[in-house]
Subunit: 153 residues, 3 copies
């Protein structure tokens, strides 16, 4: 079994940002020389995610707005009463007692997940026609790491 | 390491539908002859998912209703004010500007996830007593693909 | 390829409980003698999850409160109108027709997921500085199993 590990560090300009990494993952597969196996793509932080979805800017704005309703940040006004109702009952996240303000980013990480496993067939990422891999930053503007681990033969 | 890849295509009669695929995944493991390893089960579309849960029809209806509240479709009336509040602020998904109407299916894909990894022990899917694997279609009535990739020895 | 499988059984004192299992997973990797590979950590029940996030008690309380709004239990009063609106329209989960009362735990399992894959590099779990692995019980007070499967070389 061959194993190949690549780390990438992202320092996004915005607090939230989506970065397409399909090409990075394919490059790791190429470097590994793996023909059959998988690539594990995993955020190494608890306020970022990895997802596989469409590379369509309208959808990206839809998703970020929707996540701000489901897992509302306390550092900006609530989008509407439903979003307010999904904030914690003490009025702010308990997690912020220590001086943090990124409680919502932790919840978003749990919702969209911090990792994806991409099958590798005949040396290529075996994705459907519209599947692209994204690193999804929910609390950026500082260096954060991602691991790509290719396993196979 | 042995690798075996199976593709399945589903064309569901309904727009949303759950299809139990535990037996398909076990068959792929049998074909691979793998005794120890894993089966990666992954939707190849961005508007479908794969989950492991109970094969209980009441629960399935509960989940589909609940997903329509958390990630509301714009092609049917909102279930209630909370569901309305979770639709996008422009009144419809930005993703629909290009003529699509499946924005909600993308969000559902992100919520329930497009893949699961099933451990294989002694040639069998190593699942708990009530765990069944489902392909979960959120925008069907057209051919959509699933990949099952078995890796192990 | 080396494979090593460990089962753990949890009987939590509370209905909901988070149990840190990072050390259990590392121990399984040590026992396997795997230097490069992955550890699949997967709940064997459909009312429990596995997640990778911060070991911070305030955050844990935030997450459990938030999950009770997003996937409301019917065995306690709703937290607020938004949580009520996310309960099923028949007034109770259809899943409860058979005498169960854990419909919400199934939904929570789908939301936070029942599994995580941890990369193993040079014999160590390759996690970021704040990443800890948790077994997340949503319907405990009875024995429930978890599988840890280490694959690699």
């Amino acid at each position: 079994m061959t194993s190949h590990t690549v780390y990438r560090t992202f320092t996004t300009a915005q607090r939230r940002e989506l970065i397409r990494i399909t090409e990075d993952v394919q490059r790791a597969v190429d470097e590994a020389g793996v023909r059959e196996g998988m690539a594990l793509v995993s955020a190494m932080h608890i306020t970022a995610g990895v997802w596989v979805n469409d590379d369509e800017p309208g959808l990206h704005r839809d998703v970020l707005e929707w996540l701000d309703k489901l897992a509302p940040p306390s550092w900006q006004p609530s989008k509407n009463p439903a979003a307010s109702a999904l904030t914690p009952d003490p009025g702010d996240y308990r997690h912020h007692a220590g001086g943090e303000d990124n409680g919502d980013a932790h919840l978003k990480n749990l919702l969209v997940h911090h990792q994806a496993i991409v099958p590798v067939t005949d040396g290529r990422l075996d994705l459907g026609p519209w599947q692209q891999i994204f690193y999804t930053e929910f609390d950026g503007r500082r260096p954060k790491r991602l691991i790509i681990k290719v396993l196979g033969e």
